[in-house]
């Protein structure tokens, strides 16, 4: 019991601390690839620090939903984060839910954020909510197929078991079923975290925004909470992807010197995935909104292929 609480606290701190860093690294790498200097990898921390000290403007039209949504998003994202294996294969809150719970907790946050977008009464909030919910709905079946493939391989939807099964077979991710599932999940990750070619996180034009339009009216500490939750969600989904497929360096438990090695591996793998994301973001242009379902249909097809190829191997 005590160990669980300590593990949870350690993973909580890691989630809170690492998430802005991943965002910062991706931004800086992207800037460098585009031959810009970029703001430096610690800029998100400075942004959050600044936002948390500011005052905020609450729209007159908004109800308590507007104030509650950032908290629901923040807490549900963190809870999802505690259910995934980060450093140790044993997820601290694994008893409370597996991969399905993670997806549905992220869905809970999105549900409230979409409500908040519509709560402000402006056109852009509604526009963002509508698009965000549409894209995530379209992403869901592909995600579930890929997860089913992984879960069937491990015989469980518990992430502790999934990661545990992966540890035994380090090179299993080279199996066709796993590679298809990985590709499907990677596409879903891009859609869910609002990255190019689905959404542009650094856009300044409201009409092309998706996630940013939804949170347009937030300011000050609430904006910081929402943004922080978004970067934690990105970290959670990235970690989910890398630890389900590349279990290198995943420790059996959180305790002892091994944890440091585990953190080292985690950071290395995250850095690698970030590079891949940066590359995809830089060489692609943002898609038209109505082309996104086609991209997600590709993900769904890959997921189906993953399932079918579990027959073969």
């Amino acid at each position: 019991m005590m160990e669980r609480i300590l593990e949870s606290l350690a993973q909580l701190i890691l989630l809170l601390a690492l998430a802005p860093l991943v965002t910062g690294v991706i931004r800086t790498l992207k800037a460098r690839l585009q031959t810009r200097r970029g703001p430096g990898i610690f800029q998100p921390y400075r942004d959050f620090y600044k936002l948390f000290r500011k005052g905020m403007v609450i729209p007159e039209t908004a109800s308590w939903i507007f104030a509650a949504a950032p908290w629901v998003v923040f807490f549900s994202t963190i809870m999802a984060g505690l259910m995934i294996p980060m450093v140790a294969a044993d997820a601290p809150l694994g008893l409370f839910g597996g991969v399905l719970a993670v997806i549905y907790l992220l869905g809970l946050g999105r549900f409230f954020l979409a409500l908040a977008g519509l709560d402000t009464g402006g056109s852009f909030g509604g526009l963002g909510s509508s698009r965000e919910m549409t894209i995530s709905s379209m992403a869901e079946p592909a995600m579930m197929l890929a997860i089913f493939t992984v879960a069937i391989g491990a015989g469980s939807t518990g992430l502790t078991e999934i990661a545990g099964a992966a540890i035994g077979q380090t090179w299993r991710f080279l199996a066709p079923a796993q590679m298809f599932a990985f590709a499907a999940l990677a596409l879903v990750l891009i859609a869910e975290t609002g990255r190019i070619p689905v959404d542009n996180p650094s856009t300044h034009l409201e009409l092309t925004m998706i996630h940013e339009a939804m949170i347009l009216e937030y300011s000050g500490p609430y904006l910081a909470l929402v943004e922080w939750a978004a970067s934690i969600k990105q970290l959670v989904l990235m970690t989910l992807l890398i630890n389900c497929f590349w279990p290198f360096g995943l420790q059996p438990t959180w305790f002892g010197f091994g944890a440091l090695i585990g953190i080292g591996w985690l950071v290395a793998k995250l850095l690698f995935l970030s590079c891949a994301i940066v590359l995809i973001e830089t060489v692609n242009a943002k898609m038209r909104l109505f082309r996104v379902p086609e991209l997600l249909a590709v993900a769904f097809t890959l997921g189906s292929l993953a399932l079918v190829s579990t027959f073969l191997f």
Binding site: G55, M56, V57, I58, P59, E60, T61, S63, W71, F75, I78, L93, G94, L95, F96, G97, G98, L100, Y104, G107, L108, F111, L115, L118, D119, T120, G121, G122, S123, F124, G125, G126, S129, S130, M133, T134, S136, S137, A139, E140, P141, M143, M144, L145, F148, T149, A151, I152, G155, S156, T157, G158, E161, E217, G220, Y222, F290, P293, G303, L307
Partner: protein, 676 residues
């Protein structure tokens, strides 16, 4: 004890119905008697049937005035008791709500008649779930259908209520016809009309008869449950009824179809061939997906909820279908898991859909419109209704930690476990059904963002909406009961699964709950080998702790630094309700993505005086094509009309011809009767 409580519930309902008839001319008294009897009967029924839940030997009650062909025997086994508990919880909340809801109708409508049919409906529902032989069942079934019909077309001065009622009646009777044939086929094999002797009987028939009986039952009960493609009455009938009746219709009347299927598929059939499970699973997936897709396009709040009933019936059938397949594959413990998922969702749907219809009823009563585009901002004027509706929305969207999440999670687990049970291609059904369930659930979440946000958030879009008033205390109490039910069924999952043990023991011969309750009742597991666990109570506890420890103090601190200001909205001054996103706009991306299904049609006419860039008025019209009505039912209707026209020839009006018909029929029957 059980029989006494149950019988007194029936008697209270019957007495309430008759008393309401007697109070025809005293609306105030009729209202009190109608709701009071409804509530009292429900509480008695709840007490009786919850005691019967764990009773392994069924309580049998013989009513007097029997006749030679059949007896009026009530038999409460665990399955009947479970559906009765569902009925009683919902009916108690709805009756409580009706105290306030019906007050507005006093003097304007005949509340005596309403009370009569209302109590009759509740009584017949309890009897449908407990009747122990075919005739009694069909009598209760018909009383239920007729009283439901009278309640649906209660506001009969409206054309839409009349035509929806007639459609309901026609389809309901077509379904009853199928049931009658199926029951007679069973009876001819078993030489009996008692349900208790039908146990495993269907599996003793030849494969062709088994299949025929199965399909007759599936569609006979399917009409009532509202599965695609025999669903078309449902989105018409549920919205036009008074909202308390809509809650009963969606919450429990359609569940009689589910009860019938559970009874037939798991009690009458032993080990059905695998194609039956496949058919049920496929129908479930199609119903779930089409239900939610049509709901997304709906801007009539109550029609939207009615479409979601079709979706949820689909989810229930996915559980049942998987259970049938597992049974055919010789996996009784997995079948128990899938059956539990379906039955759990049945109860859950009764609570959250009942809650949502009651919430919609309050909104409609206070804004006088069912059109979401004319509502808005109600969260300020109707705060308690808004919270209740939000709880229902989160629950139906299947989001943790409420009850919809638990039953959907169990369905996923059953489907996931299915993949390993067979080596044939059939196993691909399971993950594909699972991923389509994920699509359904995500679309449902999208739909309920719309269904909550458009009526309740932002600015009122019409004068009626800005004059709305909070519902009366009894209406709020009725909704609160169901909202608490949604939370309790979500958090108390590990407690509730024990209830299913007698049912699975009786039908499948296994007890599932001991494997499903883990970590001293904190976590729920599917009971399969590695399974995975969830703990809704743990999640809820963490949410509350985190909220109390961090959110509350910080909110109080930040409040001092926050100011109210107009929405920025890209710098445009003067935000009005015209700036808001509408329900039509919200669902536009999905309308375009699924345009192959919807075949949307829109018409825009702009009037202008000088230049088309400065229109003085714009008229916008948008509609989607009702596929089933147009391509399935319209040809069918035309065919029936043509056949009827041709048959008119034999109905010449001559009494001699009619006598000849009767004579010929008699001879044919005699020939048929005495054949060797």
């Amino acid at each position: 004890m059980i029989s006494g409580l149950f019988l007194s519930g029936i008697i209270v309902w019957l007495a309430g119905a008759l008393a309401c008839l007697a109070l025809w001319r005293k609306p105030a008294n009729a209202r009190l008697v109608a709701c009071g009897a409804g509530l009292a009967g429900s509480l008695l029924d709840l007490a009786g049937s919850s005691a019967a839940l764990f009773n392994s030997s069924p309580a049998v009650i013989g009513l007097p005035f029997g006749n030679p062909i059949f007896t009026w025997t009530i038999r409460i086994d665990p399955l009947s008791a479970y559906f009765n508990v569902t009925l009683a919880v919902l009916a108690a909340a709805v009756s409580l709500y009706s105290f306030g809801y019906l007050r507005e109708m006093e003097g304007r409508r005949n509340l005596g008649a309403f009370g009569f049919f209302y109590n009759l409906l509740l009584m017949s529902l309890a009897l449908v779930f407990t009747a122990s032989n075919v005739f009694f069942f069909l009598v209760a079934w018909e009383v239920m259908a007729l009283s439901a019909f009278c309640l649906v077309s209660f506001e009969h001065e409206k054309q839409e209520a009349r035509s929806a009622g007639v459609l309901f009646l026609v389809m309901s009777h077509a379904g009853t016809g199928l049931l009658l044939i199926a029951f007679l086929m069973l009876a001819s094999v078993g030489d009996t009309l008692e349900f208790s002797s039908f146990h495993l009987l269907a599996s003793a028939m030849s494969p062709v008869w088994q299949g025929a009986v199965f399909l007759l039952f599936l569609f006979g009960f399917g009409v009532k449950a509202g599965i695609v493609p025999v669903h078309i009455w449902l989105p018409d009938a549920h919205p036009v009824a008074p909202s308390n009746v809509s809650a009963l219709m969606s919450g429990i009347v359609i569940k009689t179809g589910i009860y019938g299927m559970a009874r037939v598929f798991f009690d009458f059939y032993g080990s059905p061939p695998i194609w039956m499970g496949t058919v049920v699973l496929a129908l479930g997936v199609v119903s779930a997906l089409l239900g939610v897709l049509y709901a997304l396009m709906e801007h009539d709040l109550k029609r939207l909820l009615a479409w979601h009933s079709i979706e949820n019936i689909g989810i229930i059938l996915m559980g049942f279908g998987a259970a049938l397949m597992f049974r055919a594959l010789g996996q009784p413990s997995l079948a128990a898991l899938a059956l539990i998922a379906g039955l759990y969702h049945t109860f859950n749907h009764a609570t959250f859909k009942g809650l949502l219809f009651l919430g919609a009823g309050s909104v409609v009563q206070s804004t006088h419109t069912r059109n979401m585009e004319k509502m808005g901002g109600l969260i300020r004027l109707m705060p308690v209704t808004a919270i209740c509706f939000l709880v229902g929305s989160v629950a139906i969207a299947g989001l943790p930690p409420l009850n919809g999440f638990v039953s959907e999670w169990l369905t996923y687990q059953a489907l996931l476990a299915g993949f390993g049970t067979t080596q044939s291609l059939t196993r691909l059904m399971f993950p594909i059904a699972g991923s389509l369930l994920a699509l359904t659930a995500a679309l449902a979440a999208t739909c309920f963002v719309k269904a909550f946000a458009i009526p309740f958030l932002a600015l009122p879009r019409s004068e009626q909406a800005s004059d709305a008033k909070e519902a009366s205390p009894t209406m709020l109490a009725g909704m609160a009961v169901l909202a608490v039910g949604c939370v309790a069924l979500g958090l108390g999952a590990t407690w509730l699964v024990r209830v299913f043990d007698p049912i699975t023991q009786q039908t499948l011969g296994v007890n599932a709950s001991s494997a499903m309750i883990q970590a001293r009742g904190v976590a729920l597991s599917p009971g399969t080998l590695h399974g995975g666990t969830i703990s809704t109570i743990g999640m809820a506890l963490l949410f509350v702790l985190a909220g109390a420890a961090f959110a509350l103090p910080l909110v109080l601190r930040w409040r001092r630094r926050s100011t109210k200001g107009p929405s920025w909205d890209c710098g445009l001054p003067g935000l009005t309700a015209d700036n808001e996103y509408t329900a039509t706009a919200f669902s536009k991306p999905l309308r375009l993505i699924f345009s192959a299904l919807y075949r949307p049609h829109r018409e825009i006419q702009a009037e202008y005086e000088v230049s088309p860039y400065y229109p003085s008025a714009i008229r916008f019209e948008s509609e989607i094509e009702p596929t089933f009505e147009k391509h399935l039912y319209e040809p069918l209707r035309q065919w029936i009309m043509a056949a009827a026209r041709r048959m008119r020839a034999i109905q010449a009006g001559s009494i001699n011809a009619y006598l000849a018909y009767i004579f010929i029929t008699l001879i044919l029957l005699l020939l048929f009767g005495v054949r060797p």
